[in-house]
Symmetry: C2
Subunit: 288 residues, 2 copies
């Protein structure tokens, strides 16, 4: 099966399950449910669930049986976007081509929508963790990757180094935590469920996360905001610590190429997989 068709298959399945999950939300007051649904349902490439499903199938595990963990991944990713977009954080008015959560519902409701989504993830992870030892391990991996030793630490460092001098070491910390942890998580979680080599999965996932953030920084500098669905050029304006700032655009592009090659090399330790190899190319060449 070709890459696009397989990706679209995972995507269609996940969107259907996500819609069901959102329809079953009956939190009161209505504004809480609406604000949580709004950010879950408006766009997104669903990269993390797709990586999770693709890696599960690599290990011969039926991805349709693992919706709970995929939903937890997307709830955590979405909460982080809502909080990151807040005026006091990255102050982004647009996300996935639509007004940010706080532009629609106000800041207070946006904070609570994020808190609500992280709490939903906590409930999902506890439910899934009861299914088997491997599910428990996968859930714990995600909880750790999302938290104060993972994504939250990366966002904290991102804020800290904005407008500051910082070099490769600081950039690596931001990359590996803000992005790497939650890109590696679905790959490691699926590998744990499939009985594969979790360390090899983590190395591949971290490299892929690095590639993802490299291309994100590069696209902020030279991408098209219509395709990206968000305001661009903000990194430079706000003096964010990005690969473009540290290396310059040309070297950053070379680094992205080298990282893509490294991803493919690290992937081979998990065993040949055409879909995951195509994901690497997709992330390198994306324009949104």
């Amino acid at each position: 099966m070709n890459f696009q068709k397989q990706y679209q298959g995972y995507l269609a399945f996940f969107e259907k399950e996500l819609k069901r999950f959102c329809a079953e939300m009956t939190h009161r007051p209505p504004v809480l449910t609406e604000s949580m649904r709004y950010s879950l349902l408006t766009g997104g490439k669903r990269v993390r669930p797709v990586l999770f499903f693709g890696t599960l199938e690599h290990f011969g595990v039926d991805h349709t049986a693992e919706v709970g963990l995929a939903l937890a991944l997307e709830c955590i990713h979405t909460y982080s976007l809502i909080h990151d977009d807040l005026p006091t954080m990255d102050n982004d008015d647009f996300r996935r081509g639509n007004p940010s959560n706080h532009k629609v519902f106000g800041e207070a409701n946006a904070i609570l929508a994020g808190d609500g989504l992280l709490s939903e993830a906590m409930c999902l992870l506890l439910r899934e963790s009861a299914r088997s030892k491997a599910h428990l391990d996968a859930a714990r991996y995600l909880a750790n990757a999302a938290g104060a030793d993972g994504m939250v630490a990366g966002q904290s460092a991102d804020l800290l180094y904005t407008g500051q001098t910082g070099g490769e070491e600081e950039l690596d910390f931001i990359y590996s935590h803000k992005t790497g942890k939650l890109i590696a998580a679905p790959i490691v979680m699926a590998t744990l469920l499939g009985g594969g080599d979790a360390d090899a999965a983590e190395r591949f996932g971290q490299a892929l996360g690095r590639l993802f953030q490299l291309t994100d920084d590069i696209l902020d500098e030279k991408g098209e905001s219509v395709k990206m669905g968000k305001t661009l050029g903000k990194d430079r304006e706000e003096d964010k610590l990005t690969c473009v700032k540290v290396y310059g655009l040309k070297r950053a592009e070379l680094l992205a190429d080298r990282t893509a090659a490294n991803c493919l090399s690290l992937l081979s330790n998990l065993g040949r997989d055409d879909f995951l190899a195509a994901v690497v190319e997709f992330v390198r060449n994306r324009d949104n």
Copy 2:
């Protein structure tokens, strides 16, 4: 043993464990660890861990073996205070007699400190849930009580009805969710671990939560800010939906007395317990 001595015993034990937990936090960048520690360690009556320990002992369970769930309770309570104090939420400059988290670390770091603490709770709950079926049930109860069907919903309603007309029904929703869920949680969790009647525990816990919020609203109207460690009179100023607004101060005090009596009656369904009965009196008569 008398009430004060037993309370102080639980408190001293918990403070020691909480200090150890905070000392073992090595999240980077340092500001993340510092901001999380700041709010965990500055003051607080530790009502939820104490209720948890007291109820465990009621059922003959050694409370010193259940630190993980107690820490999760306090992490969740503390994250909710940090986010609630933000300028866009309740805008409180003081908490527990000290500057609020965002007054010390800034709003962005305060949001992340809250996110980090909720994530720590998620990690703790997943760890504890692996110990037994009862631990899993207790962890799931807390996750649900904290989330979008629980405390987060209560805070959302609290915001929604600020400056609005609202009556008993709306007030009941705020009370049962914003406060009731997380006061009932330690009592229900301990009852699940002790093999008691969880429904009876929930009814007692919800009544105690109601009493807690009634006295909180009353103290905001007539308490002393030095003792409370926070700015008072803000509910009226911001036109919050409180029992004082709905019933007037005098009827609110009568309602608090009646609720305290109801607590004692509901407690009897769990079996006579001098400590928990004294907690009811303590909450009714508190001045901070």
